[in-house]
C-alpha cells in the first residue's frame, strides 16, 4: 500500500503529510523542553543565597560546541538546497559535514561530562572543603561510611563552601596536588547529576539534548548512507525526507541556543 501525500500537497492542509507530522512532533518537543526550562527557572529562583553555581562550565568549549551546531545547521539546509538543485554530490558533501559536526559536538560533550565526573568535592572534618580532579584514588569506604586510605587530587582547599560556587567572583588560584587522608573525610562526591540541583539540571537538560543529537544524527546518517538509494528511484520524496530531518536538526540547534547561555554564561 502506498503512503499518500509523500510528495504532493494534501488539498486541505496544503502540505505533504510528513511535514504536518514533523511540526506536530516538534510542537510536543517544545512542551517537553518547556517543562524542563520551567523547572530550571523554579529551582534557580528558589535556590539559597550564594549557592547557585557560576562559572562551573568551560565557556570556550561551550562556545565551540555552539558554533559547531550552527555550522551543522547551515550544512543541513545546504544539503536540502542541493537536492532541490539536483546536485546529489553536494548533498552528500554537506550532509557528511553535518555528521562530522554532530560527532564533534558529542565528542566535546563527552569530554565535558568526563571532566565533571572526575571532579570531586570533599567535606573535611576540620570544616574545610577540598575540591579538584582525582589524580590517584586509594580510598576505601568502610561499612559505617568512614573512609580509609588516601586520595591525591589536583585542586585547592577553601574555608567557605560558597567560594566553590561562584567561580567568576572567587577566582580559583593555581591548583596544586593535595593529599586527602581518608579518616579526614566526612563526605565526598563527584560533580555528577547527584551533586546538587545545578548539576542535576545540567545533566538532565544537556543529556536529553544529546539524545536528540544522537537521534538526529542517526536519521541523517541513514539518509546519507543506505537511505540515499531513494534519490535514484524517487528524488522528490527523498528531498522531502531530507527536509523533514533538517527541520528536526534545526530544532535541536534551537534548543541549544537557549541551553548555552542559561547553563554556561548566566
Amino acid at each position: 500500500m502506498d503512503i499518500p501525500y509523500t510528495i504532493e500537497a494534501r488539498p486541505d492542509t496544503g502540505l505533504y503529510n510528513a511535514k504536518v507530522g514533523i511540526w506536530l512532533f516538534l510542537a510536543s518537543e517544545v512542551m517537553l523542553f518547556g517543562a524542563l526550562f520551567s523547572a530550571y527557572i523554579l529551582l534557580r529562583v528558589g535556590s539559597a543565597d550564594g549557592y547557585w553555581p557560576h562559572g562551573w562550565l568551560n565557556i570556550p568549549l561551550g562556545t565551540v560546541n555552539t558554533l559547531v551546531l550552527i555550522t551543522s545547521s547551515i550544512t543541513t539546509v545546504m544539503a536540502w538546497a542541493s537536492c532541490k538543485m539536483n546536485q546529489f554530490g553536494k548533498f552528500k558533501l554537506f550532509h557528511a559535514c553535518t555528521l562530522l559536526c554532530a560527532l564533534m559536538f558529542l565528542g566535546i560533550k563527552s569530554y565535558e561530562y568526563h571532566d565533571k565526573l572526575t571532579h570531586y568535592e570533599f567535606v573535611l572534618k576540620d570544616g574545610t572543603f577540598a575540591d579538584g580532579h582525582i589524580v590517584k584514588n586509594q580510598l576505601t569506604q568502610q561499612p559505617g561510611g568512614l573512609y580509609t586510605g588516601y586520595a591525591l587530587i589536583k585542586g585547592r582547599k577553601v574555608e567557605d563552601e560558597r567560594e566553590l560556587y561562584d567561580l567568576r567572583a572567587h577566582k580559583a588560584g593555581p591548583h596544586e596536588e593535595l593529599r586527602i587522608e581518608g579518616p579526614q573525610i566526612v563526605k565526598m562526591g563527584s560533580y555528577g547529576p547527584w551533586h546538587n540541583t545545578y548539576t542535576a539540571l545540567y545533566f538532565t537538560l544537556t543529556g536529553l539534548h544529546a539524545l536528540h543529537v544522537i537521534g538526529g544524527a542517526l536519521v541523517i546518517g541513514f539518509l546519507w548512507g543506505p537511505g540515499s538509494r531513494m534519490w535514484k528511484s524517487d528524488p522528490e520524496r527523498f528531498t522531502n525526507r531530507v527536509e523533514i530531518s533538517g527541520l528536526f536538526w534545526h530544532f535541536v540547534d534551537l534548543v541549544w541556543i537557549f541551553l548555552f547561555p542559561i547553563l554556561y554564561l548566566l
Partner: protein, 105 residues
C-alpha cells in the same frame, strides 16, 4: 513555503549564508556580553535571552522557513505558543510562594 525553482534556491542559499554569519556573530556577542557587568544580574540575563531569542528567530524563520509557511503550520505553532506561555505564566506566578531571598540570583 519552500522555494521550488533553482533560481529561487540560489537566492535562498545567499540568505542562508547571511543567517549563518549572523548566528556566528550572535554567539560571540552572547559570550562577550556575559562578561560585561551591567550592574545587576537581571540585566545580564535579559541581554543573553534577547540575543538567544533573536538567534532562535533566525533559525526558525529562515532555516526552518517559518517566515513563509502555510497556515496549517502557523495554527499548530499558535496552539504550542499558547500552551508554552501558559506554562511560563504559571512558573512566574509561583514566585509569589517563594521566600524573599529568592530573587537575589
Amino acid at each position: 513555503m519552500n522555494p521550488s525553482h533553482p533560481e529561487d534556491i540560489t537566492q535562498h542559499v545567499r540568505r542562508y549564508l547571511y543567517v549563518f554569519y549572523a548566528l556566528m556573530f550572535g554567539t560571540i556577542v552572547t559570550v562577550g556580553a556575559s562578561y560585561i557587568p551591567f550592574g545587576n544580574r537581571e540585566i545580564n540575563i535579559g541581554v543573553a535571552l534577547f540575543i538567544a531569542c533573536s538567534k532562535a528567530f533566525l533559525v526558525a524563520g529562515f532555516f526552518m522557513h517559518l517566515i513563509s509557511e502555510r497556515k496549517m503550520i502557523y495554527g499548530i505553532l499558535a496552539f504550542t505558543a499558547i500552551l508554552f506561555l501558559g506554562l511560563m505564566t504559571l512558573t512566574v506566578l509561583s514566585f509569589a510562594d517563594m521566600p524573599h531571598h529568592a530573587f537575589a540570583h
